[in-house]
């Protein structure tokens, strides 16, 4: 029986400090991909000025012209007045909705009546909080990284169907923490305010391993990421059944666009196909992408760093 799959692929903002040329090349490729939704902007550090707001806006318009749904992402940790001003500028861009990653983003978007997505660093831990933010103008939320499938199901089981969309990070290094301290600058013994944006040296963050050579963290300026990439490809059918609307990729290389493109094509194709073939095709997909250090612990209700290889999901009820 033909089924209708409405889940779409989204691309999180680049969380690293890349050169302007690299960022522009990246989004040129995104423009010609089948990826539906693109989040765009600097979310980690206001010292990164390779691209200015106007540059992001220009990219946003190009992507929109290619049929993409574009959302302007804003900073996760907002401290200085200059950062608040930049945030307000993003909110008042006039064309695009925003991803709020700090409650200040929620506040200004609500004031300006700009619809917003709550990013993964807004503390949404229960249904009543989500409903409250919906009242303020939230139309979608990205599930905080540390929450699980069981948590999401419990949220969905509370009351009627939510009026807002659900997005889950399915692939990429997870943002685990943000600090006032820049760990990359500290590593190079540079003061934060003379950091020379040294983080540009590490296009996917600086790997930190334990003294037993266990990869643990990635230092990305003031942000700390997981050393392992979350990999929830096998869980896509389960998420479709639950009603997850967006499967998010947090990119760290050009190949992530290919992954997003392939998955988007596959999901579009399933409109004419059945779920069993989706499951089969995804299984192959997951296996062919399974050689790196991956994790899926949070989704399964385990420590986030864990990876469980064989997860059996009921395909359909």
């Amino acid at each position: 029986m033909a089924i209708r799959v409405t889940m779409k692929i989204s691309l999180a903002p680049i969380s690293y400090c890349w050169s302007k040329a690299d960022v522009e090349q990246f989004y040129q490729q995104v423009a010609s991909s089948s990826i539906d939704t693109v989040y765009l902007g600097e979310t980690v550090c206001s010292r990164r000025r390779e691209l200015k707001f106007a540059d992001y806006l220009a990219i946003a318009h190009t992507l929109k012209a290619h049929g993409k749904q574009v959302v302007l992402s804003t900073m996760a940790l907002v401290e200085a007045q200059s950062e608040l001003n930049e945030l307000k500028r993003a909110v008042n861009n006039g064309d695009f909705s925003i991803e709020a990653n700090d409650m200040a983003g929620v506040y200004y978007a609500h004031q300006a009546k700009v619809p917003f997505v709550c990013g993964p660093t807004i503390n949404n831990y229960n249904r009543a909080s989500l409903d409250l933010l919906y009242q303020k103008g939230m139309y979608r939320f990205v599930m905080p990284c540390e929450l699980s499938q069981q948590w999401l199901q419990a949220v969905l089981d509370t009351g009627s169907e939510p009026q807002y969309e659900i997005e889950v990070l399915g692939h990429g290094y997870m943002p685990l923490a943000h600090s006032a301290r820049c760990f990359t600058a500290k590593h190079y013994q540079l003061p934060k305010d003379k950091c020379q944006t040294i983080c540009q040296r590490h296009s996917k963050g600086l790997l930190a391993q334990t003294q037993e050579s266990q990869p643990l963290l990635r230092l990305n300026g003031i942000q700390t990421q997981s050393a392992a990439q979350v990999d929830l490809i096998k869980q896509i059918p389960q998420m479709i059944n639950m009603g997850v609307d967006y499967w998010r990729i947090s990119p760290n290389k050009l190949a992530d666009i290919s992954l997003g493109d392939a998955l988007a094509r596959l999901l579009n194709k399933v409109l004419e196909d059945d779920k069993k073939s989706l499951q089969n095709e995804l299984t192959q997909f997951a296996q062919s992408n399974d050689h790196l250090s991956h994790c899926n612990g949070y989704w399964l209700g385990h420590p986030g760093m864990n990876y469980t290889e064989h997860v059996n999901h009921l395909i359909n009820q």
């Binding site: 996760a76 907002v78 945030l87 831990y125 540390e146 943000h178 600090s179 334990t210 643990l216």
Partner: protein, 333 residues
């Protein structure tokens, strides 16, 4: 300027009151607060007793409800709010939106303090909570420099409380998943950072090791000290490097005695001492020092100097016995 001290149990509460705390904060014996350790915290009758005791001495008592209600289990958090209202407690320390909303709607006269776990670091975030829930006060995360604290205090629509002393959390609090990445439990979800049942102290004969859910956090020679294993204070090896270093932070704790005049001049309403998980002796020692420091400052603001015996006394109870100004000091950032 209020001196706000931690109470993990009745003995600590009495220690804080005897040593001159203006107010104490405490939590219930469950996962409604982020210091959910075995043997800590208060049952409902103990909470009633603690509140009566503090009020009889003219001191204030705040209930810490700084975790996030789990879907389907919200009642436990709502009941805690009801209890605090019944006991006439002086404020609730809350981070979750739904809980702020519940308290604001049901008990509009019960003051709400925005917990540090809500991670509000700027005017926009503070305005949001003020307008939505009429919060009276916000606790600032330990990520702001002293200049940023001063700037924020000038425009803040609510009273500000800052951490003055204790364990140094270096991340934007309430939004840190390092503990759950390794153990499955975070302050937000499980009620504690680095839960004790995941901690192992090992001694190989030549080396001492600390582990968190089997992950090696730190290693030292037998004669060196090791801190309690939290992910942000471990020694790791950076890519392209050979040696293990404290890549995030070393086991230090926060001590802002030298900033007391600056904090007072900025109009900070309350100085918070961290450590509900610490002993009554710690609470007593730290409270005494800070009481003395605040009184000395207030008696003669212009001639205030940090007295060596204060820092010596505090150093004895500090983690790693090293103290820092943390993010308050621009250089640290």
């Amino acid at each position: 300027m209020e001196l706000l001290c931690p109470a993990g149990n009745l003995a600590s509460l009495k220690a804080a009151l005897n040593a001159g705390a203006d107010a104490v904060y405490l939590g219930l014996k469950d996962d409604t607060n982020a210091r959910s350790f075995a043997g800590l915290n208060f049952t409902a009758p103990q909470l009633a007793h603690a509140t009566t005791l503090a009020h009889s001495q003219g001191r204030k008592v705040f209930l810490t409800l700084n975790t996030f209600p789990k879907p389907g289990q919200e009642q436990r958090w709502y009941q805690a709010v009801d209890l605090a209202a019944q006991l006439n407690m002086d404020a609730l320390i809350v981070a979750d939106l739904s809980l702020l909303s519940y308290a604001h709607q049901h008990y509009p006269h019960l003051p709400l303090h925005l917990s540090v776990q809500a991670s509000a670091t700027n005017l926009g975030a503070l305005s949001f909570y003020k307008e939505a829930f009429n919060i009276e006060r916000a606790v600032l995360p330990r990520v702001l420099s002293i200049k940023q604290v001063k700037d924020l205090a000038k425009v803040s629509p609510v009273q500000l409380e800052v951490f003055a002393f204790g364990s140094l959390c270096i991340m934007a609090e309430g939004r840190c998943h390092l503990s759950s990445y390794v153990t499955g439990q975070s302050p937000n979800t499980g009620g504690s950072c680095s839960p004790a049942n995941h901690v192992r102290w090992q001694d190989s004969g030549t080396d001492k090791l600390t582990r968190l859910n089997n992950v090696l956090i730190d290693k030292a020679e037998a004669n060196q000290q090791l801190g309690y294993p939290v992910v942000c204070k471990g020694r790791y090896v950076a890519q392209y490097d050979q040696d293990a270093k404290y890549l995030l932070e070393s086991p230090t704790s926060l001590n802002t005695l030298s900033l007391l005049p600056a904090l007072a001049q900025a109009g900070i309403a309350s100085l918070k001492i961290e450590g509900r998980q610490r002993s009554p002796a710690y609470v007593s020692q730290v409270t005494q020092v800070w009481r003395s420091a605040i009184d000395t400052y207030l008696a003669s603001p212009s001639s205030f100097t940090e007295q060596p015996q204060w820092s010596q006394a505090l150093a004895k109870v500090s983690e790693g016995q090293i103290t820092t100004l943390g993010a308050y000091e621009r250089q640290w950032q």
